[in-house]
Symmetry: C2
Subunit: 221 residues, 2 copies
């Protein structure tokens, strides 16, 4: 037993892993094995050990519950409404990650009885305030599309402008004008044209591009 | 006394309040009245009450220690290295605020024996990891200049383009080209010209601008 002079909250982490799969933006959820919300879908996450770094906890819980490892996490927001957990005061530090779908194999274990992808536009009922966490992550992701190379993280090393546009359209859930999109993307100086082209059906071959500067998220200056 | 089956961290908030004063970007610090780091400068902040919203705690501690109230806080980052506080495991949820200097009166009280502004480029030795917190806030502020109207928060309701440029230069700590700056700012469609002009010394009168859409932070689309 651990005793304190003043009451202490518990601290957890929760992780929003986004991918694009079947032309849809999807999020990784687990089915809870334990109370509260047993059998309910939730974000992978759990309690921070007393000597554990917060981000290390997020990576550990993600790995334990879904088998997913080696992803790059960015801290999203800390949620702490006093009544967000029926057990006790629990403050959760949330993270998000963007992964190309091919790189990910999922296997539920530990506190999760199942783990699978859900369309962001068709989520099941979620435990705690996890609907709010996902909404916050989606808002952040959409905002970042406007000023960073975040979309490249869903693509292979080389890609066509049509593939890049499709990523934007899927995340923003809207159709974009092809000519405006191309002009805008090329004007940023973030893309380097390669010598390679790919043929797609009866269209003329499309040039492959790669990020101008390798790296994760670059600000558009 | 409060007893738990597993050890619990303590949770605090810390607030980075930026202003521009004497043509410099400054940050509000308090001198600590109590251990640890007694007499050392630190960010205003303190422990979250068990039934208190996190942001409400940040506003309360800021008000108690510095007399500053009515500012708009944005959550910055949650810091939780296991050894960041010598007393026990303490996780801190940090916030930042941008205030025009004229609006602020400071009065140290509670756990603070003094409260004053320091140049961001000339900070004293700081308690805990508060140097890291301020560096993170400064990085966020500079990044936001590139894609939002964040700079307007340091200005009165109407301002000249020279005044806006000066805010950018002070925050970025670099000189900007006047013609490029004006062209870029006007191209965003975020500024509305007013009918008013102001005279400044022997220069020809300068037009006053106001934000196109009132509001705090608008993303540049």
């Amino acid at each position: 037993m651990y005793t304190y002079e003043h009451p202490h909250p518990a601290v957890t982490t929760d992780v929003v892993v986004f991918t694009i799969r079947d032309e849809r933006l999807q999020v990784l959820l687990v089915k809870r094995r334990n109370p509260p919300f047993t059998g309910c879908w939730a974000l992978p996450g759990g309690f921070v050990n007393i000597d554990e770094d917060i981000e290390a906890c997020a990576l550990r819980e993600l790995q334990e519950e879904t088998g997913v490892s080696g992803v790059f996490l960015e801290q999203l927001y800390t949620f702490g409404a006093p009544d967000r957990d029926p057990r006790e005061r629990v403050i959760t530090v949330t993270y998000y990650a963007l992964v190309p779908h091919d790189h990910i194999r999922i296997e539920a274990a530990s506190d999760a009885s199942a783990a699978t992808w859900f369309d962001c536009t068709d989520l099941p009922a979620l435990a705690f305030d996890h609907d709010q966490v996902i909404a916050t992550a989606l808002k952040r992701l959409r905002a970042k599309l406007q000023y960073s190379t975040v979309a490249f993280q869903f693509l292979p090393d080389k890609f066509t402008l049509s593939e890049l546009q499709r990523v934007y359209e899927i995340i923003l859930d809207q159709t974009l004008d092809k000519r405006n999109f191309r002009r805008r993307m090329l004007s940023y100086g973030l893309l380097a044209a390669t010598e390679e082209k790919v043929r797609n059906g009866n269209h003329r071959p499309a040039r492959l591009y790669r990020p101008q500067t390798p790296g994760r998220v670059e600000f558009i200056k």
